[in-house]
Symmetry: C2
Subunit: 199 residues, 2 copies
C-alpha cells in the first residue's frame, strides 16, 4: 500500500532517532498527526533551532549554545582545579545529578578506538594536553565508561596527565549500591574485591 508521500517521508525521517524502527516510526507519525499536531510543530521548531544554534563548548567540547558552556564559565569551578573526563554530554548530566562534584569537565565525545580510526586527536586529547600544559589543573578524574575502550582511553589520559605532573584518578568500580551480590557479574565482583577499602 502506498502511503501519502508526506506521511511516508515523515516515517522515514523519524527512523533517524535511536531505537526507532519502521513500526515505532509509523506509530509516532500517526499519533503525532492524529492527536498531537501542536506538539509536532513545536518539535519541528525545536529541532531546527537546536541544529542551528547548538555547537561545541570551546573549553570542554560539550554541546552548548554560544562559545562556552555554563559550567566552564563558572569561576568557582575553574578555581577548583579538578577536571573530570567523560565520554559524552549525557555523562556530564549523570555526574551533575549526584550533586557531589564541583569541578570542571572535559567531554571526549567518544573513546579511543584504533580499529574505527578514532585516534587521540579525534577525541580532543591534543586540546586536553594544551590545557594540562597551561597549568591550573591539579587533579584529573577519569570517568570514562568501564568498557575495554573506555579503560584504554583512561590509561592513555592517565599517562598524558603524569607527563604533565597532573594527578590522575579513576572512578571506583564495584558492586552497585542496592544490588545483590548473587546477581553481580564476576568481573565486577573481582573489581570490588581488588578495590576493597579498610573500614
Amino acid at each position: 500500500m502506498q502511503l501519502s508521500p508526506a506521511i511516508a517521508n515523515l516515517i522515514r525521517a523519524l527512523k533517524v532517532l535511536p531505537g526507532v524502527g519502521q513500526k515505532s516510526a509509523q506509530r509516532m507519525a500517526f499519533q503525532l498527526l492524529e492527536q498531537k499536531r501542536d506538539g509536532a510543530s513545536q518539535l519541528a521548531e525545536a529541532l531546527a533551532h537546536a541544529v542551528e544554534v547548538v555547537g561545541r563548548c570551546d573549553t570542554c567540547r560539550t554541546l552548548t549554545e554560544g562559545v562556552r558552556c555554563q559550567i566552564c564559565s563558572d569561576p568557582q569551578r575553574i578555581e577548583s582545579g579538578i577536571l573530570c573526563i567523560v565520554e559524552s554530554p549525557a555523562d556530564v548530566i549523570a555526574v551533575e545529578q549526584t550533586s557531589q562534584y564541583q569541578g570542571q569537565y572535559f567531554v571526549l565525545m567518544g573513546h579511543l578506538s584504533p580499529l574505527d580510526g578514532i585516534g587521540p586527536n579525534d577525541i580532543g586529547l591534543d586540546k586536553l594536553a594544551t590545557r594540562f600544559a597551561a597549568g591550573g589543573i591539579e587533579e584529573v578524574i577519569l570517568a570514562t565508561n568501564p568498557t575495554v575502550e573506555g579503560d584504554a582511553t583512561a590509561h592513555y589520559i592517565a599517562d598524558l596527565a603524569r607527563s604533565n605532573n597532573v594527578k590522575a584518578s579513576r572512578i571506583a568500580h564495584g558492586v552497585p549500591v542496592g544490588g545483590e551480590l548473587e546477581y553481580v557479574d564476576h568481573t565486577t565482583l573481582s573489581h570490588a574485591f581488588s578495590g576493597r577499602k579498610q573500614v
Copy 2:
C-alpha cells in the same frame, strides 16, 4: 544542572513522541546533535511539512494529503462494494499488508467510549450511515480491535448496517497462526472453540 536552553527545549519537545520519556529524549537529543544533524534537519522539515499538508480523507477519514486518499480514489475498490471498518490508519496498513483484501476502508479514528465522552458522531458514524443510505455497499467487514470497546463499536455498526440492509461480518478471533495452544489465553481459546469450522 542547567542545560543549554536550545537542548533543554529539544528534550522537552521530543517527549511528545509516544513511549519517549526524559532519558530517551535526552539520548535522542544528544545523538541527533552529535552525529545526525542532517537527519535532524530532515526530520524537522518532514514534521513541519506533514503537519501542514496532511488532513483527513473526505470519504474514509484516514490521514492523507489532498481531499481523497489513494484507496478511496481507486475505481476497482469502489466497485467491490465491500467496506472494512478499522480503528486507525495503522490498521489499514496492517490489512493492506495481507494483500488479501481488495475493498474500501472506513477509518473510525478511535472507538465508542461513552465514559470518555466519545459517541457515534465523534468516530464518524453519521458519515458512515450516510454512506450506507447512499447505497453501493453490499458488505461491511468489522475489523475493530478485539477489546471491549472495539467489540461494542462493532456491535453498534452491525446494527447500523442491518437497518440499512447491508450485510455485516466480524473478523475471526482465535488461535494466532504459529502460536502454541499452551500459551494462548483462555478467552482467545474459548473464542477459537466457539468459532470452530467444519473441515
